[in-house]
Amino acid sequence: MPSAALLLIIALLSGAAFIAGRSRALALAGAGGLRILNSLPFYYGTLTAFWCALPSLLVVAIWSVLDGVIIRQMVGELVPPAAVEAAGGNLGLVMNQVRNLAAGHVTADGLDPGIVAAAERLVQLERVNRWAVAVVVLCSAIFGALLMWLRIRPQLKARARVEDIFRWALLACASLAILTTIGIVLSVLFESLRFFQRVPVTEFLFGLEWSPQTAIRADQQGSSGSFGAVPLFAGTLLIAGIALLIAVPTGLMSAIYLAEYASPGVRAVIKPVLEVLAGIPTVVYGFFAALTVAPMIRDLGLDLGLDQWMNISSESALAAGLVMGVMIIPFISSLSDDVINAVPRSLRDGALGLGSTPSEVVRLVVIPAALPGIIGGIMLAASRAIGETMIVVMAAGLAANLTANPFDAVTTVTVQIVTLLVGDQEFESAKTLAAFALGLVLFAVTLALNYFALHIVRKYREQYE
């Protein structure tokens, strides 16, 4: 990691470069005045500062990515094979020992002399590394600034050059969105492929039993936990389905009332209040679901005597789905509100003029016209419900039951990702990799939903513009 001092030095040097470049431009202008310069002196200074900072920052970035790997490689060669074997063939454990020794957390007593030597080498290499990075960065900063400084001429199009750099910087920032997507795809895909080497894709996608916890023991044959994800998919769909069943009618009717019936005053009060529901953190909903709703649902099930026919659990799909539905209401209502308002006034006036009641206008004219947009909104809400994590983690439970009974505990894709990855894990185990495979499925499904939804919404918007 680059030390703060190094970054501070680069900043100071860039400041100095700015002043040097600016004064050189002023000196060149001399008696002739600023008019003979192509650009204002400010731009000559800025350009020099860029040439000082950018190459050195690049060096810092590349260096800090590579140095750890290279040092580990060089020290790793020194570790005697016998010590690795003693640690069960795990080089990482030995390297931890070396690192602890080098940092002075443990004493060298009773350790393999090879490890002691490696630790000494590590200390030495790190010292060399610190100095080397400082020297190289300083050199590149000064060299870059000097190179630019010497090239300052009155004819130099400093402003145009600065603007080019500015533009490229902006483009880089905009491209971060693409990089993030690529990062997500690669990180999830890469680990999933490693998972599918151990567990066949078909077993994962179509297997009916999910019990990754049995794969904890390392000496188990081929980490034989079962990774059939169908119960998770079913649980996710059940909860998301309940949520949508609540949110779609409620959200849609609220939107219609606010858009078509409510007076401006009522609308101005109710709309923001409903949107408060969307601003409440999901962990609060989760707490509410687990604390209040789940016991209520269980008692309701028991009071109705439903326990004769079905399993009633204290953590139920219904509790999680209900609360999630409430969370999604404002999402649906604000999206529907947008599309309903986009339906042209003339369509409504035409229908009213023919003698329709307002509700007939809504049902027979506005809704059909807005339908694509509403469906797009519902799809977005569905993707949100599928990817929602905290509510289900806190209220839906861990039991991978394959059931359609809403009073029973089910588990979802997101719950399993959290359970598999929270806490200390070993990155190589099938259990951990399974979380990434689930992540891949989740990403693919939500991406598809979002993509089509956005497509539909955009198409629809164009239709009336």
Binding site: F166, R167, L170, L258, F287, A290, S359, M394, I417
Partner: protein, 436 residues
């Protein structure tokens, strides 16, 4: 329908139509009323849930802001404390303050003699009592040798029982009859009361509910948000400027836009997976630090900030741009000197809303290990930390009943922060945004 060649048909038609309309009118009006009520019922349902949520959280949370204290006569007895000079830090460090507490309790309840009962009696007070005595003596060395009556922190079970008793619905599950008798005795002499729970705001997490606080989580949230804001605001604004002012209409620009709108809808937990795979496993950052949390939240909030910044830039009228360009400004000057300052209120509003979203986010931070049990209050972006929503999650998972009220109290604090941020955003929009 009105065919003049056939008078009968016209007549029949007219009568029929108007009859049909008249006959159906009542039904249609009923449908109209019904439809209207569906709308009102839907809105009422949403508001009802909101109300229940708040009532429930506030109802369980107010107790979390109060703390039970017990008054105890404390004898600062030098031989018992094993302290001869209260100004000597080492003696203070090794002083036997527990013994003083024990003696004080024995003095207060002389009837307790049995060994087991004595141990239970000692548990009337929190283990924090001894620490409190130490810091008090440190500040006032002249107390040594004297005697003072002090309000000391009660144990969490006593706290829960006493508060439930005050509400009139005693929760007796975790207290013995002997202890309840002691509490009643304390109540008769006025030696037990509740006070404002300052510990909640001045200490980090603890496994003892009465000593647990949210300061560590608040600092963690603050540091994480600082990183998030420092990265996502400049990058988001830069991306928005590029897309609005520079980007040519081509495939690449379209691709960027599709990516941004898709990322805005990707589940947050996926960003956690990204952070785990890239920052922790590839780049070997330490676990549980605000820096990594901030990086993950940056990637997550970036789409929101880009979209709102673009809207703010779009709202600046083209005439401003044309005027700047017309008097010889370059494109960069036009953007930096004119467009950005005018769009700034809108962009800040969007950024604050993005930060509010990031403040409430839990799932991605679970993935990068910010769920650890951390007692120390973090001071830098590379100290292990947790954040407020994760703290809420951790406490809500804790089986100790006394954590229930504190969880709700922490939720109230979190909601208060969110309300403030949203209010700030609304205020900014109202005050600073210009209408063209």
């Amino acid at each position: 329908m009105s065919n003049t060649n056939n008078p009968r048909a016209g007549q029949v038609g007219d009568i029929k139509t108007i009859d049909l309309v008249r006959r159906s009118l009542a039904r249609r009006y009923r449908a109209e009323t019904r439809f209207r009520w569906y709308g009102i019922a839907s809105i009422a349902l949403g508001l009802f849930f909101l109300l229940v949520l708040f009532v429930e959280i506030v109802g369980t949370g107010v107790d979390g802001f109060r703390q039970t204290l017990i008054r105890l006569p404390v004898k600062w007895d030098p031989p018992l404390l094993e302290i001869t000079d209260a100004r000597d830090p080492q003696q203070l460090e090794q002083g036997n303050f527990e013994a003083v507490v024990r003696v004080g309790l024995a003095q207060r309840f002389p009837q307790v003699t049995d060994r087991r009962e004595k141990r239970e009696l000692h548990a009337l007070l929190s283990i924090d009592a001894a620490y409190a005595l130490r810091s008090l003596l440190q500040k006032n060395p002249e107390l040594l040798g004297g005697e003072t009556a002090l309000w000391l922190l009660a144990d969490d079970d006593v706290d829960t029982y006493y508060k439930s008793l005050l509400r009139g619905e005693p929760f007796t599950a975790r207290t013995s009859e002997a202890r309840r008798a002691q509490i009643r005795e304390l109540m008769q002499t006025g030696d037990i009361r509740t006070g404002f729970n300052t510990r909640l705001f001045t200490s980090g997490d603890s496994s003892e509910p009465e000593m647990a606080g949210i300061l560590g989580a608040l600092m963690g949230s603050l540091l994480t948000l600082l990183v998030t804001f420092a990265l996502s605001f400049p990058i988001g604004v830069a991306a928005a400027v590029y897309l609005e002012e520079y980007a040519p209409r081509n495939r690449f620009t379209d691709f960027i836009e599709v990516n941004i709108s898709n990322l805005a809808a990707v589940p947050s937990i996926i960003f956690g997976l990204l952070g785990l795979a890239i920052f922790l496993n590839l780049l070997h950052f330490p676990r549980s630090i605000p820096l990594v949390g901030g990086l993950v939240l940056t990637l997550m909030t970036l789409p929101t900030i880009i979209i709102s910044s673009r809207n703010a830039i779009k709202a600046v009228p083209p005439s401003i741009r044309e005027a700047a360009l017309g008097i010889g400004a370059s494109k960069m000057q036009m953007i930096l000197h004119h467009v950005l300052p005018l769009a700034m209120p809108g962009m800040l509003t969007g950024a604050i809303l993005g930060m509010a979203q990031a403040l409430g986010e839990t799932a991605p931070l679970l993935m990068i290990g910010m769920v650890a049990f951390i007692v120390d209050v973090p001071h830098g972006i590379t100290d292990p930390a947790t954040v407020l929503p994760v703290q809420i999650f951790l406490w809500s998972d804790n089986p100790e009943r006394a954590f229930l009220a504190r969880t709700s109290a922490a939720i109230m604090v979190l909601l208060a922060f969110l309300v403030c941020m949203n209010a700030l955003a609304v205020w900014l929009r109202k005050r600073l945004e210009r209408r063209w």
